[in-house]
């Protein structure tokens, strides 16, 4: 795997971890409700697991089809989907909602999965996935089969999720222990709009590389 792609994978993970809407805020809220740091720490893996499942789904589909079809078709189609999805996210005013405040860890993971999917978290990895660099040497040879594709998808998901979990975890604990909730008012930049822009950029990059 190219260094650049790995860095991009980690950076996107960090970006997803940064977004309060992707889960760290929920972990903090749960901890505050019960006045328990343990609950904050307990919530994070569940949130990360849901996020990982969402990302993995896209990764496995793309790497699998990528090794069967020409990666160019996947790139162009994926790029168009991404730009479209980004524009929809940017213009849509409806907000994802599924649950309330009282959740089991399973429900929390489910919430995280749906939240990540609805925001196209996995799709954002498309430029890295379709660039062919992720699967590295495997993708170039005819030996590269479904098994390799799945292991590549697992690798991508793990790297991305670890980065996401690390950032979300640090923010959650620091907010819970030190900073306090006023950070929500001062520093909650509209990541939904930035997110939408990132989706569009990812789509454009995918298309650019493909064409």
């Amino acid at each position: 795997m190219k260094d650049g792609s790995l860095i991009a994978l980690v950076a996107l993970g960090a970006f997803h971890g940064l977004n309060p809407g992707m889960g760290w805020l929920f972990a903090v809220a749960r901890g505050l409700q019960e006045r328990s740091r343990a609950l904050v720490l307990q919530s994070l893996p569940a949130i990360a697991a849901g996020h990982a499942a969402s990302v993995f789904l896209v990764a496995v589909v793309v790497t699998l089809t990528g090794s069967v079809l020409t990666s160019r078709v996947v790139s162009i189609a994926g790029g168009i989907v991404l730009v479209g999805f980004g524009l929809w996210r940017l213009l849509s005013t409806r907000h994802f909602r599924w649950v309330g405040m009282r959740l089991t860890l399973w429900q929390l993971a489910g919430w995280s999965f749906l939240m990540s999917s609805a925001h196209g978290a996995g799709l954002m990895l498309l430029p890295i996935l379709t660039h062919g660099s992720v699967t590295g040497s495997h993708a170039h040879g005819m030996t590269g089969g479904a098994g390799d594709a799945v292991s590549a998808a697992i690798f991508v998901t793990l790297v991305h999720t670890m980065a996401m979990l690390a950032v979300a975890g640090v923010i959650a604990v620091v907010v819970y222990e030190v900073v306090g909730l006023t950070i929500l008012r001062r520093a909650w930049f509209n990541l939904d709009r930035l997110w939408a822009a990132a989706l569009i950029a990812a789509g454009a990059t995918t298309l650019l590389i493909a064409v």
Partner: protein, 465 residues
């Protein structure tokens, strides 16, 4: 368009809200009882440093007549910071103002010109009826799924059941009826929630025919008005539990849940007991997974001569306190109780919610007393403290004097007038003598509920302690 940073009037916790800057404007719903001219939102200057402090500085007339503007609310508030459906980049900029008599809903934009807000959208009664099956919209709360609007009546002439309509908080379209399973609930009035516990609470008044022509003495003595609380699952929209206060406790109205999101208790006011005309305040609380209620404040009727009383209560020889509104300070410390019949505003320290301690009282108006405001000591006042609104920091309490057109006329047959007063609530509990807009200041309209710029003690819910 969405904001880049959260609306600065959204607060994660009650503590953050209480330490926020004070309001400088207040919005008051005002209506013409005769329906000869349009109802309006009056804008009041509440900045003590301003030259026009205490006076009406702006008006927004609605285009129709006979709406009877009553309770209203913000399109968005602190609940937008809640973590499971966060959308903090929408703005608190629209007042959603229902007409209780007409079932029409006005959406009024206060952003561009806060002193003269503009009507952005009008939702016709047919839309509420068609999409939600309700009429007589009453209470508006900004919540997780949009705007929750309680409604007293059914659609198309049906008396009930009343319930909750959901409105989209961007487009203001009616999304539908909120209840999936209403269980035994039929009567509606107020709605609020323990948002961090996924619990909704509703209360009961009466159906349209039970209220629109005034209090019906037969229904009252027949104990037919609402006397129960309902608890719901906020997520599943299902009825969980009905808690009956006893049918002598008629009209269980304003719900004031603790603002602290870790708590699951709250206060509710009862207008009148048919046994002794007293009024009461109850606490609901959770024990072993179910909700219970306990009467914690009882305010007795005051003896009076029959000839001093309006016909509706003359046979009883006493003035009922008629607790028509209560309000809980954002720090959950003080509960304000308005006695619209006797003309008294009481303050209770409810640090221990099960043992309220009276911590102040002021008198103004009242059926018999007609107590004047200290700034106009020669002017007897009709009406009494009715809707109470408390500032975020808990230091200022605003009261208006009209209850509901037809009921005003019964209890104050010589005219209820129009006045608004402000009480400073600190160590002392006294009227601000610089603040007393009244009479012609309100153009002959009656004044009902107050909303404070940037939120107040009965508008926002918080997800973080």
């Amino acid at each position: 368009m969405a904001l880049w940073k959260p609306d600065p009037t959204f607060y994660p916790s009650p503590r953050d809200a209480a330490s926020a800057p004070p309001e400088s404007l207040a919005y008051v719903a005002a209506f013409d009882r005769a329906a000869d001219k349009p109802d309006a939102i009056a804008v009041l200057d509440v900045d003590p440093a301003s030259g026009s402090y205490g006076s009406v500085v702006g008006w927004t007339d609605v285009p129709y007549k006979g709406d009877e503007l009553h309770h209203f609310g913000w399109n968005a508030c602190s609940s937008a910071l809640c973590p499971y459906a966060p959308h903090p980049h929408i703005e608190r900029r629209y007042l959603v103002v229902p007409g209780l008599r007409s079932s029409r809903v006005y959406v009024i934009d206060v952003k561009d010109d806060p002193v003269k807000p503009a009507i952005k959208k009008i939702l016709e009664p047919e839309e509420l009826a068609k999409h939600a099956g309700y009429s007589r919209p009453h209470t508006v709360h900004c919540g997780p799924e949009g705007l929750y609007v309680s409604a007293l009546g059914g659609a198309n002439g049906d008396e009930g059941p009343g319930g909750i309509a959901l409105l989209d908080h961007n487009s203001f379209e009616v999304l539908g009826r909120w209840e999936v399973d209403r269980g035994p609930q039929y009567l509606a009035y107020d709605v609020w929630w323990h948002i961090a516990h996924d619990v909704v609470v509703t209360s009961e008044w009466g159906t349209p025919s039970m209220i629109e022509d005034g209090v019906d003495a037969d229904l009252l003595l027949g104990r037919a008005y609402g006397h129960a609380l309902h608890f719901w699952d906020l997520r599943k929209r299902r009825h969980l539990q009905r808690v009956d206060l006893g049918d002598e406790h008629q009209m269980v109205l304003e719900l004031r849940p603790a603002h602290d999101p870790t708590k699951t208790y709250g206060f509710v006011g009862v207008v009148v007991s048919v046994e002794d005309l007293s009024a009461s305040v109850w606490v609901w609380y959770r024990e072993d997974g179910s909700f219970r209620v306990r009467e914690v404040i009882t305010i007795p009727a005051e003896p009076a001569a029959a000839e001093d009383l309006p016909p509706v209560i003359a046979p009883f020889g006493a003035v009922p306190p008629l607790v028509t509104d209560i309000d809980l300070s954002v720090d959950d410390r003080f509960l304000y109780v308005s006695c619209w019949g006797t003309g008294e505003l009481k303050r209770y320290d409810v640090t221990d919610p099960f043992n309220p301690v009276e911590a102040g009282s002021v008198r103004i108006g009242g059926i018999v007393n007609r107590t004047p405001h200290p700034s106009a000591p020669d002017e007897p006042l009709a009406g009494g403290p009715q809707m109470v609104e408390v500032s975020r920091d808990g230091e200022r309490v605003y009261v208006t004097n009209s209850l509901y057109g037809a009921w005003d006329d019964q209890f104050y047959p010589d005219g209820v007038g129009a006045w608004m007063a402000k009480v400073d609530s600190g160590q002392e509990f006294t009227f601000d003598t610089r603040f007393f807009p009244s009479g012609d200041d309100f153009r002959g309209l009656r004044v009902h509920q107050t909303r404070l710029q940037g939120g107040d003690a009965s508008s926002d819910s918080y997800c973080y302690p």
